[in-house]
Protein backbone atom coordinates (compact mmCIF):
# COMPACT_ATOMS: atom_id res chain seq x y z
CA UNK A 1 0.00 0.00 0.00
CA UNK A 2 1.45 3.36 -1.05
CA UNK A 3 1.55 6.20 1.37
CA UNK A 4 -0.58 8.97 -0.07
CA UNK A 5 -0.64 12.66 0.65
CA UNK A 6 -2.88 15.59 -0.25
CA UNK A 7 -1.62 18.83 -1.78
CA UNK A 8 -4.01 21.73 -1.32
CA UNK A 9 -3.64 24.63 -3.74
CA UNK A 10 -5.23 28.05 -3.85
CA UNK A 11 -5.14 29.20 -7.47
CA UNK A 12 -6.44 31.89 -9.80
CA UNK A 13 -9.66 30.75 -11.39
CA UNK A 14 -9.51 30.94 -15.18
CA UNK A 15 -9.41 28.45 -18.09
CA UNK A 16 -6.00 26.86 -18.36
CA UNK A 17 -4.96 26.79 -14.71
CA UNK A 18 -5.92 23.14 -14.33
CA UNK A 19 -3.96 22.22 -17.46
CA UNK A 20 -0.86 24.00 -16.08
CA UNK A 21 -1.07 21.94 -12.89
CA UNK A 22 -2.01 18.58 -14.39
CA UNK A 23 0.49 19.06 -17.23
CA UNK A 24 3.27 19.63 -14.69
CA UNK A 25 2.57 16.24 -13.10
CA UNK A 26 1.93 14.48 -16.42
CA UNK A 27 5.19 15.46 -18.09
CA UNK A 28 7.16 14.23 -15.11
CA UNK A 29 5.28 10.92 -15.31
CA UNK A 30 3.86 11.52 -11.84
CA UNK A 31 0.29 10.33 -11.53
CA UNK A 32 -2.40 12.35 -9.79
CA UNK A 33 -4.63 9.76 -8.09
CA UNK A 34 -7.49 12.10 -7.20
CA UNK A 35 -8.53 15.69 -7.92
CA UNK A 36 -11.15 17.94 -6.39
CA UNK A 37 -11.67 21.59 -7.28
CA UNK A 38 -14.15 24.25 -6.18
CA UNK A 39 -14.31 28.02 -6.70
CA UNK A 40 -13.94 30.17 -3.57
CA UNK A 41 -14.39 33.85 -2.74
CA UNK A 42 -17.05 34.39 -5.38
CA UNK A 43 -15.03 32.68 -8.09
CA UNK A 44 -11.89 34.83 -8.41
CA UNK A 45 -9.85 31.97 -6.97
CA UNK A 46 -10.30 28.23 -6.66
CA UNK A 47 -9.13 25.58 -4.27
CA UNK A 48 -7.70 22.38 -5.70
CA UNK A 49 -6.92 19.24 -3.75
CA UNK A 50 -4.58 16.72 -5.34
CA UNK A 51 -4.27 13.20 -3.98
CA UNK A 52 -0.81 11.88 -4.88
CA UNK A 53 1.52 9.08 -3.91
CA UNK A 54 4.24 10.37 -1.61
CA UNK A 55 7.33 9.14 -3.44
CA UNK A 56 10.83 10.60 -3.49
CA UNK A 57 9.97 13.17 -6.15
CA UNK A 58 7.20 14.83 -4.16
CA UNK A 59 9.30 17.67 -2.72
CA UNK A 60 10.49 18.60 -6.22
CA UNK A 61 6.89 18.45 -7.52
CA UNK A 62 5.71 20.78 -4.78
CA UNK A 63 8.51 23.25 -5.57
CA UNK A 64 7.57 23.15 -9.25
CA UNK A 65 3.87 23.67 -8.49
CA UNK A 66 4.76 26.55 -6.19
CA UNK A 67 6.56 28.25 -9.10
CA UNK A 68 3.44 28.45 -11.25
CA UNK A 69 2.27 32.03 -11.58
CA UNK A 70 -1.39 31.12 -11.03
CA UNK A 71 -0.72 29.13 -7.86
CA UNK A 72 -1.12 31.42 -4.84
CA UNK A 73 -0.80 29.09 -1.84
CA UNK A 74 0.48 25.51 -1.51
CA UNK A 75 -0.31 23.45 1.58
CA UNK A 76 0.49 19.83 2.23
CA UNK A 77 -1.68 17.47 4.25
CA UNK A 78 0.32 14.33 4.90
CA UNK A 79 -2.44 12.95 7.07
CA UNK A 80 -4.97 13.06 4.22
CA UNK A 81 -7.94 15.37 3.79
CA UNK A 82 -11.67 15.03 4.44
CA UNK A 83 -12.41 16.00 0.81
CA UNK A 84 -11.14 12.64 -0.36
CA UNK A 85 -12.45 10.53 2.52
CA UNK A 86 -15.94 11.87 1.85
CA UNK A 87 -15.56 11.63 -1.92
CA UNK A 88 -14.64 7.97 -1.47
CA UNK A 89 -18.26 7.32 -0.52
CA UNK A 90 -19.32 8.17 -4.09
CA UNK A 91 -17.05 5.61 -5.69
CA UNK A 92 -17.55 2.84 -3.12
Amino acid sequence: MCKQTVIQLTVNNHPGVMSHICGLFARRAYNVEGIACMPVNGGATSRIWLLVNADGRLDQMIKQVDKLEDVLIVERHDGGHAVFTRMAEFVA
Binding site: G16, S19, G23, D59, K63, Q64, D66, K67, L68
Partner: protein, 557 residues
Protein backbone atom coordinates in the same frame (compact mmCIF):
# COMPACT_ATOMS: atom_id res chain seq x y z
CA UNK B 1 -8.66 57.98 -23.61
CA UNK B 2 -10.05 55.54 -26.10
CA UNK B 3 -7.84 53.02 -27.86
CA UNK B 4 -8.16 49.67 -29.59
CA UNK B 5 -6.61 46.56 -28.04
CA UNK B 6 -3.86 46.59 -30.68
CA UNK B 7 -3.06 50.24 -29.98
CA UNK B 8 -2.99 49.52 -26.24
CA UNK B 9 -0.49 46.68 -26.75
CA UNK B 10 1.84 48.81 -28.90
CA UNK B 11 1.63 51.77 -26.53
CA UNK B 12 2.38 49.56 -23.52
CA UNK B 13 5.38 48.08 -25.35
CA UNK B 14 6.66 51.61 -26.06
CA UNK B 15 6.24 52.43 -22.37
CA UNK B 16 8.29 49.33 -21.50
CA UNK B 17 11.15 50.81 -23.55
CA UNK B 18 10.89 48.32 -26.43
CA UNK B 19 12.68 49.74 -29.47
CA UNK B 20 12.84 46.80 -31.87
CA UNK B 21 10.39 43.98 -32.54
CA UNK B 22 10.99 41.10 -34.94
CA UNK B 23 8.12 39.17 -36.43
CA UNK B 24 5.85 38.30 -39.32
CA UNK B 25 2.30 39.57 -39.90
CA UNK B 26 -0.67 37.40 -40.86
CA UNK B 27 -4.45 37.50 -40.83
CA UNK B 28 -4.84 37.15 -37.09
CA UNK B 29 -2.34 39.81 -36.00
CA UNK B 30 -2.89 42.44 -38.69
CA UNK B 31 -4.60 44.88 -36.32
CA UNK B 32 -1.44 44.70 -34.17
CA UNK B 33 0.75 45.40 -37.21
CA UNK B 34 -1.53 48.25 -38.27
CA UNK B 35 -1.02 49.82 -34.83
CA UNK B 36 2.73 49.16 -34.99
CA UNK B 37 2.99 51.03 -38.31
CA UNK B 38 2.48 54.36 -36.56
CA UNK B 39 4.79 53.57 -33.63
CA UNK B 40 8.38 54.63 -33.02
CA UNK B 41 9.25 50.94 -32.55
CA UNK B 42 11.38 49.52 -35.35
CA UNK B 43 10.07 46.35 -36.93
CA UNK B 44 12.30 43.63 -38.35
CA UNK B 45 10.42 41.50 -40.83
CA UNK B 46 11.93 38.02 -40.78
CA UNK B 47 11.48 35.11 -43.17
CA UNK B 48 10.51 32.62 -40.48
CA UNK B 49 8.97 33.13 -37.04
CA UNK B 50 11.69 30.98 -35.45
CA UNK B 51 14.19 33.53 -36.76
CA UNK B 52 12.14 36.30 -35.13
CA UNK B 53 12.26 34.40 -31.83
CA UNK B 54 16.03 34.02 -31.97
CA UNK B 55 16.49 37.66 -32.97
CA UNK B 56 14.55 38.57 -29.80
CA UNK B 57 16.74 36.16 -27.83
CA UNK B 58 19.89 37.77 -29.25
CA UNK B 59 18.68 41.18 -28.10
CA UNK B 60 17.69 39.89 -24.66
CA UNK B 61 20.93 37.95 -24.11
CA UNK B 62 23.07 40.97 -24.94
CA UNK B 63 21.10 43.55 -22.94
CA UNK B 64 19.60 41.46 -20.12
CA UNK B 65 16.32 43.25 -20.86
CA UNK B 66 13.20 41.51 -22.17
CA UNK B 67 12.74 41.52 -25.95
CA UNK B 68 9.51 41.06 -27.88
CA UNK B 69 8.56 39.21 -31.04
CA UNK B 70 5.32 38.85 -32.99
CA UNK B 71 3.70 35.99 -34.86
CA UNK B 72 0.29 35.31 -36.28
CA UNK B 73 -2.01 32.44 -35.29
CA UNK B 74 -1.66 28.80 -36.35
CA UNK B 75 1.57 28.11 -38.25
CA UNK B 76 3.00 31.47 -37.19
CA UNK B 77 2.60 30.48 -33.56
CA UNK B 78 3.84 26.89 -34.00
CA UNK B 79 6.93 28.22 -35.79
CA UNK B 80 7.87 30.19 -32.66
CA UNK B 81 7.85 27.18 -30.33
CA UNK B 82 11.47 26.09 -30.72
CA UNK B 83 12.75 29.60 -30.00
CA UNK B 84 10.49 29.84 -26.95
CA UNK B 85 11.56 26.44 -25.60
CA UNK B 86 15.18 27.46 -26.15
CA UNK B 87 14.60 30.63 -24.09
CA UNK B 88 13.01 28.56 -21.32
CA UNK B 89 15.98 26.22 -20.98
CA UNK B 90 18.50 29.06 -20.92
CA UNK B 91 16.32 31.38 -18.76
CA UNK B 92 16.12 34.20 -21.32
CA UNK B 93 13.44 36.90 -20.88
CA UNK B 94 11.50 37.11 -24.15
CA UNK B 95 7.85 37.92 -24.74
CA UNK B 96 6.07 36.40 -27.71
CA UNK B 97 2.80 38.05 -28.73
CA UNK B 98 0.73 35.92 -31.08
CA UNK B 99 -2.48 36.67 -32.94
CA UNK B 100 -5.36 34.25 -32.46
CA UNK B 101 -8.65 33.66 -34.28
CA UNK B 102 -11.59 35.69 -32.88
CA UNK B 103 -12.89 34.53 -29.48
CA UNK B 104 -16.15 33.16 -30.84
CA UNK B 105 -14.24 30.94 -33.28
CA UNK B 106 -11.82 29.51 -30.71
CA UNK B 107 -12.22 25.76 -30.52
CA UNK B 108 -13.91 25.49 -33.92
CA UNK B 109 -10.83 24.42 -35.93
CA UNK B 110 -11.05 27.74 -37.75
CA UNK B 111 -8.55 28.65 -40.49
CA UNK B 112 -5.06 29.02 -38.96
CA UNK B 113 -6.34 28.14 -35.52
CA UNK B 114 -4.11 26.25 -33.13
CA UNK B 115 -4.15 25.98 -29.33
CA UNK B 116 -1.21 28.33 -28.77
CA UNK B 117 -1.95 28.51 -25.05
CA UNK B 118 -1.93 24.73 -24.69
CA UNK B 119 1.16 24.31 -26.87
CA UNK B 120 3.13 26.87 -24.92
CA UNK B 121 2.27 25.68 -21.39
CA UNK B 122 5.31 23.40 -20.91
CA UNK B 123 7.82 25.72 -22.60
CA UNK B 124 7.03 29.08 -21.01
CA UNK B 125 7.48 30.58 -17.59
CA UNK B 126 3.90 31.78 -17.92
CA UNK B 127 1.37 32.28 -20.70
CA UNK B 128 -1.89 34.07 -21.40
CA UNK B 129 -4.90 33.80 -23.65
CA UNK B 130 -6.34 37.30 -23.42
CA UNK B 131 -10.15 37.18 -23.29
CA UNK B 132 -11.11 40.86 -23.20
CA UNK B 133 -9.52 44.16 -24.15
CA UNK B 134 -9.38 45.51 -20.58
CA UNK B 135 -7.20 42.55 -19.50
CA UNK B 136 -4.40 43.92 -21.68
CA UNK B 137 -3.76 46.76 -19.23
CA UNK B 138 -2.88 44.15 -16.60
CA UNK B 139 -1.42 41.37 -18.75
CA UNK B 140 1.25 43.30 -20.68
CA UNK B 141 3.06 44.86 -17.67
CA UNK B 142 2.63 41.59 -15.75
CA UNK B 143 4.28 39.66 -18.62
CA UNK B 144 7.32 41.94 -18.40
CA UNK B 145 7.47 41.55 -14.63
CA UNK B 146 7.31 37.77 -14.88
CA UNK B 147 9.87 37.55 -17.71
CA UNK B 148 12.58 39.33 -15.69
CA UNK B 149 11.73 38.57 -12.05
CA UNK B 150 13.33 35.72 -10.15
CA UNK B 151 14.71 33.28 -12.67
CA UNK B 152 14.06 34.95 -16.06
CA UNK B 153 12.12 33.18 -18.78
CA UNK B 154 9.81 33.42 -21.78
CA UNK B 155 6.17 34.54 -21.66
CA UNK B 156 3.57 34.02 -24.41
CA UNK B 157 0.57 36.32 -24.84
CA UNK B 158 -2.05 35.02 -27.27
CA UNK B 159 -4.44 37.78 -28.38
CA UNK B 160 -7.62 36.98 -30.37
CA UNK B 161 -8.19 39.25 -33.36
CA UNK B 162 -11.42 40.71 -31.97
CA UNK B 163 -9.63 41.61 -28.72
CA UNK B 164 -7.11 43.52 -30.86
CA UNK B 165 -9.88 45.49 -32.59
CA UNK B 166 -12.14 46.04 -29.53
CA UNK B 167 -12.15 49.61 -28.20
CA UNK B 168 -11.56 50.51 -24.55
CA UNK B 169 -12.20 53.75 -22.70
CA UNK B 170 -9.83 54.25 -19.75
CA UNK B 171 -8.18 57.00 -17.71
CA UNK B 172 -4.59 56.10 -16.88
CA UNK B 173 -1.88 53.88 -18.31
CA UNK B 174 -0.60 51.17 -15.96
CA UNK B 175 2.99 51.39 -14.73
CA UNK B 176 5.52 49.41 -16.81
CA UNK B 177 6.32 45.99 -15.34
CA UNK B 178 9.83 45.44 -13.95
CA UNK B 179 11.93 43.11 -11.88
CA UNK B 180 10.50 42.23 -8.46
CA UNK B 181 12.68 41.78 -5.36
CA UNK B 182 14.33 38.39 -4.84
CA UNK B 183 13.61 36.16 -1.86
CA UNK B 184 15.03 37.24 1.50
CA UNK B 185 18.21 35.52 2.52
CA UNK B 186 18.57 33.54 5.73
CA UNK B 187 21.58 34.85 7.64
CA UNK B 188 22.43 31.63 9.55
CA UNK B 189 22.54 29.64 6.30
CA UNK B 190 25.05 32.05 4.80
CA UNK B 191 27.14 32.17 7.97
CA UNK B 192 27.32 28.37 7.88
CA UNK B 193 28.24 28.42 4.18
CA UNK B 194 31.00 30.96 4.83
CA UNK B 195 32.40 28.77 7.62
CA UNK B 196 32.43 25.78 5.28
CA UNK B 197 34.40 27.84 2.75
CA UNK B 198 36.86 29.00 5.42
CA UNK B 199 37.44 25.43 6.55
CA UNK B 200 37.71 23.85 3.09
CA UNK B 201 41.13 22.78 1.88
CA UNK B 202 40.26 22.37 -1.78
CA UNK B 203 37.20 24.52 -2.57
CA UNK B 204 36.03 25.11 -6.11
CA UNK B 205 33.57 27.58 -7.57
CA UNK B 206 31.16 26.22 -10.18
CA UNK B 207 29.65 29.24 -11.95
CA UNK B 208 26.85 29.24 -14.48
CA UNK B 209 24.43 31.36 -16.50
CA UNK B 210 22.69 32.56 -13.34
CA UNK B 211 25.79 34.60 -12.48
CA UNK B 212 25.52 36.33 -15.87
CA UNK B 213 21.73 36.81 -15.56
CA UNK B 214 21.95 38.34 -12.09
CA UNK B 215 24.75 40.70 -13.09
CA UNK B 216 26.98 39.34 -10.33
CA UNK B 217 30.11 38.35 -12.25
CA UNK B 218 32.18 40.94 -10.40
CA UNK B 219 31.00 39.55 -7.06
CA UNK B 220 31.84 35.98 -8.08
CA UNK B 221 35.30 37.13 -9.13
CA UNK B 222 35.82 39.05 -5.88
CA UNK B 223 34.81 35.99 -3.86
CA UNK B 224 37.23 33.80 -5.84
CA UNK B 225 40.04 36.31 -5.29
CA UNK B 226 39.40 36.98 -1.61
CA UNK B 227 39.35 33.31 -0.60
CA UNK B 228 41.69 32.04 -3.38
CA UNK B 229 39.15 29.67 -4.92
CA UNK B 230 39.62 28.38 -8.46
CA UNK B 231 36.51 28.59 -10.65
CA UNK B 232 35.13 26.26 -13.30
CA UNK B 233 32.54 27.70 -15.65
CA UNK B 234 29.58 26.04 -17.31
CA UNK B 235 28.89 26.58 -21.01
CA UNK B 236 26.43 29.33 -20.03
CA UNK B 237 28.86 30.83 -17.53
CA UNK B 238 31.70 31.53 -19.97
CA UNK B 239 32.85 35.13 -19.65
CA UNK B 240 32.04 35.40 -15.93
CA UNK B 241 35.82 35.36 -15.35
CA UNK B 242 38.25 36.41 -18.08
CA UNK B 243 40.13 33.40 -19.47
CA UNK B 244 43.52 34.75 -18.48
CA UNK B 245 42.49 35.20 -14.83
CA UNK B 246 44.77 32.96 -12.76
CA UNK B 247 41.80 31.42 -10.92
CA UNK B 248 39.78 30.73 -14.09
CA UNK B 249 39.75 27.07 -15.12
CA UNK B 250 37.45 27.55 -18.11
CA UNK B 251 34.69 25.17 -19.04
CA UNK B 252 33.98 21.89 -17.25
CA UNK B 253 32.03 18.91 -18.45
CA UNK B 254 31.59 16.93 -21.64
CA UNK B 255 34.02 19.00 -23.71
CA UNK B 256 35.80 20.73 -20.87
CA UNK B 257 39.56 20.75 -20.46
CA UNK B 258 41.12 17.74 -18.74
CA UNK B 259 42.60 19.85 -15.97
CA UNK B 260 39.21 21.39 -15.19
CA UNK B 261 37.43 18.07 -14.82
CA UNK B 262 40.36 16.66 -12.83
CA UNK B 263 40.32 19.59 -10.42
CA UNK B 264 36.56 19.14 -9.93
CA UNK B 265 37.20 15.49 -9.16
CA UNK B 266 39.65 16.51 -6.42
CA UNK B 267 37.76 19.36 -4.73
CA UNK B 268 36.44 18.97 -1.19
CA UNK B 269 33.89 21.80 -1.36
CA UNK B 270 31.81 22.79 -4.37
CA UNK B 271 30.33 26.29 -4.34
CA UNK B 272 27.72 26.08 -7.09
CA UNK B 273 26.25 29.43 -8.12
CA UNK B 274 23.59 29.94 -10.77
CA UNK B 275 23.98 26.42 -12.14
CA UNK B 276 21.49 23.58 -12.41
CA UNK B 277 23.82 20.57 -12.51
CA UNK B 278 23.07 19.89 -16.18
CA UNK B 279 24.24 16.45 -17.31
CA UNK B 280 26.55 17.94 -19.95
CA UNK B 281 28.37 19.69 -17.13
CA UNK B 282 28.29 17.00 -14.48
CA UNK B 283 28.67 13.79 -16.48
CA UNK B 284 27.44 10.83 -14.44
CA UNK B 285 25.98 12.67 -11.47
CA UNK B 286 26.81 10.05 -8.85
CA UNK B 287 30.51 10.48 -9.67
CA UNK B 288 30.52 14.28 -9.99
CA UNK B 289 32.82 15.88 -7.42
CA UNK B 290 32.72 12.67 -5.39
CA UNK B 291 34.70 14.07 -2.47
CA UNK B 292 32.94 17.40 -2.15
CA UNK B 293 30.38 18.90 0.16
CA UNK B 294 28.10 21.28 -1.74
CA UNK B 295 26.91 24.83 -1.24
CA UNK B 296 24.28 25.63 -3.88
CA UNK B 297 23.20 29.23 -4.49
CA UNK B 298 20.24 29.85 -6.83
CA UNK B 299 17.25 32.16 -7.12
CA UNK B 300 15.07 29.25 -8.20
CA UNK B 301 14.33 27.14 -5.11
CA UNK B 302 13.24 24.22 -7.29
CA UNK B 303 16.80 23.88 -8.61
CA UNK B 304 18.11 23.25 -5.09
CA UNK B 305 18.38 19.52 -4.30
CA UNK B 306 16.93 18.71 -7.77
CA UNK B 307 19.84 16.72 -9.21
CA UNK B 308 22.24 16.63 -6.30
CA UNK B 309 21.47 17.34 -2.64
CA UNK B 310 23.31 20.34 -1.29
CA UNK B 311 24.71 20.44 2.24
CA UNK B 312 23.79 24.12 2.26
CA UNK B 313 21.09 25.17 -0.23
CA UNK B 314 20.70 28.96 -0.44
CA UNK B 315 17.63 30.33 -2.25
CA UNK B 316 18.13 33.94 -3.26
CA UNK B 317 19.28 36.43 -5.84
CA UNK B 318 22.98 35.74 -6.49
CA UNK B 319 23.69 39.45 -6.32
CA UNK B 320 22.56 39.25 -2.67
CA UNK B 321 23.94 35.87 -1.67
CA UNK B 322 27.36 36.32 -3.29
CA UNK B 323 27.67 39.78 -1.73
CA UNK B 324 26.81 38.34 1.68
CA UNK B 325 29.31 35.49 1.31
CA UNK B 326 31.99 37.91 0.15
CA UNK B 327 31.58 39.85 3.40
CA UNK B 328 31.63 36.75 5.58
CA UNK B 329 34.47 34.63 4.21
CA UNK B 330 37.99 35.05 5.54
CA UNK B 331 40.78 35.97 3.15
CA UNK B 332 42.70 32.81 2.26
CA UNK B 333 45.91 31.82 0.49
CA UNK B 334 45.43 28.11 -0.20
CA UNK B 335 48.91 27.80 -1.68
CA UNK B 336 48.84 24.01 -1.61
CA UNK B 337 45.50 23.67 -3.45
CA UNK B 338 46.39 26.34 -6.03
CA UNK B 339 49.71 24.56 -6.53
CA UNK B 340 47.88 21.31 -7.16
CA UNK B 341 45.55 23.00 -9.67
CA UNK B 342 48.56 24.55 -11.41
CA UNK B 343 50.08 21.09 -11.67
CA UNK B 344 46.86 19.74 -13.28
CA UNK B 345 47.08 22.60 -15.79
CA UNK B 346 50.71 21.86 -16.54
CA UNK B 347 50.39 18.10 -16.82
CA UNK B 348 47.01 17.96 -18.61
CA UNK B 349 46.91 21.06 -20.81
CA UNK B 350 44.25 21.79 -23.41
CA UNK B 351 45.57 20.50 -26.74
CA UNK B 352 44.51 22.70 -29.65
CA UNK B 353 45.34 21.13 -33.03
CA UNK B 354 45.95 23.65 -35.82
CA UNK B 355 45.94 26.63 -33.46
CA UNK B 356 48.20 28.60 -35.82
CA UNK B 357 46.36 27.73 -39.04
CA UNK B 358 43.52 30.18 -39.84
CA UNK B 359 42.00 27.54 -42.14
CA UNK B 360 41.66 24.91 -39.39
CA UNK B 361 38.56 24.50 -37.21
CA UNK B 362 40.29 25.79 -34.04
CA UNK B 363 42.69 28.16 -35.80
CA UNK B 364 39.96 30.22 -37.46
CA UNK B 365 38.31 30.80 -34.07
CA UNK B 366 41.55 31.97 -32.47
CA UNK B 367 42.47 34.14 -35.47
CA UNK B 368 39.01 35.73 -35.63
CA UNK B 369 39.19 36.46 -31.88
CA UNK B 370 42.60 38.06 -32.28
CA UNK B 371 41.52 40.17 -35.26
CA UNK B 372 38.14 41.33 -33.93
CA UNK B 373 39.41 42.52 -30.57
CA UNK B 374 37.98 42.48 -27.09
CA UNK B 375 34.68 44.20 -27.90
CA UNK B 376 33.29 41.51 -30.18
CA UNK B 377 30.12 39.62 -29.26
CA UNK B 378 30.31 35.91 -30.02
CA UNK B 379 27.35 33.81 -31.15
CA UNK B 380 27.35 30.19 -32.13
CA UNK B 381 25.09 27.62 -33.61
CA UNK B 382 25.14 24.09 -32.21
CA UNK B 383 27.72 21.46 -33.01
CA UNK B 384 31.47 20.95 -33.15
CA UNK B 385 32.10 24.63 -33.97
CA UNK B 386 30.13 25.57 -30.83
CA UNK B 387 32.16 23.31 -28.54
CA UNK B 388 35.43 24.45 -30.12
CA UNK B 389 34.46 28.10 -29.62
CA UNK B 390 33.50 27.39 -26.01
CA UNK B 391 36.85 25.65 -25.48
CA UNK B 392 39.25 28.19 -26.98
CA UNK B 393 37.65 31.62 -27.50
CA UNK B 394 39.20 34.13 -25.07
CA UNK B 395 36.01 35.31 -23.34
CA UNK B 396 36.53 38.22 -21.04
CA UNK B 397 33.12 39.64 -20.21
CA UNK B 398 29.65 38.41 -19.26
CA UNK B 399 27.07 38.79 -22.07
CA UNK B 400 29.86 38.47 -24.62
CA UNK B 401 28.87 34.86 -25.36
CA UNK B 402 25.51 33.83 -26.84
CA UNK B 403 24.86 30.15 -27.34
CA UNK B 404 22.00 27.70 -27.10
CA UNK B 405 23.03 25.74 -24.03
CA UNK B 406 20.03 23.91 -22.63
CA UNK B 407 18.00 23.04 -25.71
CA UNK B 408 20.99 22.89 -28.07
CA UNK B 409 19.11 24.34 -31.02
CA UNK B 410 20.73 24.17 -34.44
CA UNK B 411 19.66 27.32 -36.28
CA UNK B 412 20.10 29.50 -33.18
CA UNK B 413 23.30 31.25 -34.15
CA UNK B 414 22.68 33.41 -37.19
CA UNK B 415 19.35 34.97 -36.15
CA UNK B 416 20.60 35.42 -32.57
CA UNK B 417 23.62 37.23 -34.05
CA UNK B 418 21.25 39.53 -35.97
CA UNK B 419 19.48 40.31 -32.68
CA UNK B 420 22.79 40.94 -30.93
CA UNK B 421 23.86 43.32 -33.71
CA UNK B 422 20.53 45.17 -33.55
CA UNK B 423 20.93 45.60 -29.78
CA UNK B 424 24.62 46.57 -29.98
CA UNK B 425 25.08 48.21 -33.40
CA UNK B 426 28.54 49.54 -32.53
CA UNK B 427 30.01 46.10 -31.89
CA UNK B 428 31.19 43.39 -34.23
CA UNK B 429 29.20 40.18 -33.84
CA UNK B 430 31.02 36.98 -34.72
CA UNK B 431 28.76 34.06 -35.51
CA UNK B 432 30.48 30.68 -35.61
CA UNK B 433 28.30 28.21 -37.44
CA UNK B 434 28.45 24.89 -39.24
CA UNK B 435 26.90 23.75 -42.49
CA UNK B 436 24.34 21.61 -40.66
CA UNK B 437 23.25 24.40 -38.32
CA UNK B 438 23.12 27.36 -40.66
CA UNK B 439 20.79 25.54 -43.04
CA UNK B 440 18.18 25.36 -40.29
CA UNK B 441 17.51 29.12 -40.44
CA UNK B 442 19.37 30.19 -43.58
CA UNK B 443 16.38 32.18 -44.88
CA UNK B 444 17.15 34.97 -42.44
CA UNK B 445 20.42 35.73 -44.22
CA UNK B 446 18.07 37.90 -46.28
CA UNK B 447 17.06 39.70 -43.07
CA UNK B 448 20.74 40.24 -42.21
CA UNK B 449 21.40 41.71 -45.66
CA UNK B 450 18.27 43.86 -45.54
CA UNK B 451 19.26 45.49 -42.25
CA UNK B 452 23.00 45.51 -42.96
CA UNK B 453 23.73 44.22 -39.46
CA UNK B 454 27.39 43.91 -38.57
CA UNK B 455 27.57 40.13 -38.29
CA UNK B 456 30.45 37.99 -39.52
CA UNK B 457 29.34 34.43 -40.07
CA UNK B 458 32.30 32.09 -39.88
CA UNK B 459 31.04 28.89 -41.40
CA UNK B 460 33.23 25.84 -40.86
CA UNK B 461 31.88 23.46 -43.46
CA UNK B 462 32.55 19.72 -43.16
CA UNK B 463 29.51 18.76 -45.21
CA UNK B 464 28.35 16.67 -42.27
CA UNK B 465 26.66 16.66 -38.89
CA UNK B 466 29.98 16.73 -37.09
CA UNK B 467 29.05 15.91 -33.50
CA UNK B 468 26.71 13.13 -34.63
CA UNK B 469 29.47 11.74 -36.83
CA UNK B 470 31.93 11.96 -33.94
CA UNK B 471 29.60 9.92 -31.73
CA UNK B 472 29.17 7.35 -34.53
CA UNK B 473 32.95 7.22 -34.81
CA UNK B 474 33.48 6.65 -31.09
CA UNK B 475 30.42 4.73 -29.97
CA UNK B 476 28.74 3.18 -33.06
CA UNK B 477 31.60 1.28 -34.72
CA UNK B 478 32.33 4.03 -37.28
CA UNK B 479 28.99 3.37 -38.97
CA UNK B 480 28.45 6.86 -40.41
CA UNK B 481 24.75 6.67 -41.17
CA UNK B 482 22.73 9.78 -42.05
CA UNK B 483 25.45 12.14 -40.85
CA UNK B 484 27.12 13.05 -44.18
CA UNK B 485 25.48 15.30 -46.75
CA UNK B 486 25.95 13.82 -50.21
CA UNK B 487 25.09 17.09 -51.92
CA UNK B 488 27.64 19.87 -51.45
CA UNK B 489 25.87 23.18 -51.01
CA UNK B 490 27.61 26.21 -52.53
CA UNK B 491 27.40 28.60 -49.57
CA UNK B 492 29.28 31.32 -51.43
CA UNK B 493 26.62 31.45 -54.13
CA UNK B 494 23.90 31.23 -51.50
CA UNK B 495 25.33 34.23 -49.66
CA UNK B 496 25.53 36.11 -52.94
CA UNK B 497 21.93 35.19 -53.70
CA UNK B 498 20.85 36.55 -50.30
CA UNK B 499 22.83 39.74 -50.90
CA UNK B 500 25.80 39.17 -48.58
CA UNK B 501 29.46 39.40 -49.53
CA UNK B 502 31.27 36.10 -48.98
CA UNK B 503 34.84 34.87 -48.99
CA UNK B 504 36.32 31.40 -49.10
CA UNK B 505 39.33 30.87 -46.88
CA UNK B 506 39.88 27.44 -48.46
CA UNK B 507 40.82 28.90 -51.84
CA UNK B 508 42.50 32.02 -50.49
CA UNK B 509 46.21 32.72 -51.12
CA UNK B 510 46.44 34.70 -47.91
CA UNK B 511 43.65 33.53 -45.60
CA UNK B 512 44.78 35.65 -42.66
CA UNK B 513 44.66 38.95 -44.51
CA UNK B 514 41.42 38.00 -46.30
CA UNK B 515 39.86 37.17 -42.93
CA UNK B 516 41.11 40.46 -41.49
CA UNK B 517 39.65 42.41 -44.43
CA UNK B 518 36.28 40.65 -44.11
CA UNK B 519 36.10 41.35 -40.36
CA UNK B 520 37.09 44.98 -40.79
CA UNK B 521 34.42 45.86 -43.34
CA UNK B 522 31.10 46.90 -41.72
CA UNK B 523 27.92 44.96 -42.52
CA UNK B 524 27.16 41.26 -42.84
CA UNK B 525 29.62 38.85 -44.39
CA UNK B 526 29.94 35.09 -44.76
CA UNK B 527 33.36 33.55 -44.29
CA UNK B 528 33.52 30.00 -45.61
CA UNK B 529 36.09 27.60 -44.17
CA UNK B 530 36.11 24.07 -45.59
CA UNK B 531 37.20 21.60 -42.89
CA UNK B 532 37.53 17.84 -42.55
CA UNK B 533 34.60 15.80 -41.21
CA UNK B 534 37.14 13.61 -39.42
CA UNK B 535 38.46 16.28 -37.04
CA UNK B 536 37.07 15.46 -33.59
CA UNK B 537 36.36 17.75 -30.65
CA UNK B 538 38.46 16.51 -27.75
CA UNK B 539 38.41 15.90 -24.87
CA UNK B 540 35.02 14.24 -24.81
CA UNK B 541 33.21 12.54 -21.96
CA UNK B 542 31.03 9.73 -23.37
CA UNK B 543 27.33 10.45 -22.69
CA UNK B 544 26.41 8.89 -19.35
CA UNK B 545 30.02 8.44 -18.20
CA UNK B 546 31.80 10.19 -15.35
CA UNK B 547 33.77 13.33 -16.21
CA UNK B 548 36.96 11.49 -15.24
CA UNK B 549 36.42 9.18 -18.27
CA UNK B 550 37.55 11.76 -20.86
CA UNK B 551 38.47 10.50 -24.32
CA UNK B 552 41.23 12.19 -26.36
CA UNK B 553 43.05 15.45 -25.90
CA UNK B 554 45.91 13.94 -23.87
CA UNK B 555 49.49 15.01 -24.31
CA UNK B 556 51.73 12.45 -26.11
CA UNK B 557 48.97 10.61 -27.99
Amino acid sequence: MRFSGAEIIVKLLERQGIETIAGIPGGANLPLYDALSTSSIRHVLTRHEQGAGFIAQGMARVTGQPAVFFATSGPGATNTLTAIADAKLDSIPVICITGQVPLAMIGSDAFQEVDTYGLSVPITKHNYLVRSVDELLRVIPEAFRIAVSGRPGPVVIDVPKDVQTAMLEFDVWPEPGGRGAGPELMAPELAYAARMIDEAERPMLYLGGGVVQSGSSALARALAEKASIPAALTLMGLGVLPVEHPLCLGMLGMHGARYTNLAMERCDLLIAAGVRFDDRATGKVAEFCPNARIIHLDIDASELDKIKSAHVPVAGDLADSLAALLELVRPGERARWLGEVARFKREHPMIIPGADDPCSPYGVILKAAELSGDEAIVCTDVGQHQMRTAQVYPFRRPRQWLTSGGLGTMGFGMPAAIGAALAAPDRTVLCFSGDGSIMMNIQDLATAAEHQVNIKIILTNNNALGLVRQQQDLFYGKRYFASDYSRRVDFLKLAEGFGLPAIDLGSSDDPESDLAAALAKPGPCLIHVPVSPDAPVYPMVPPGAANSQMIGGETHV
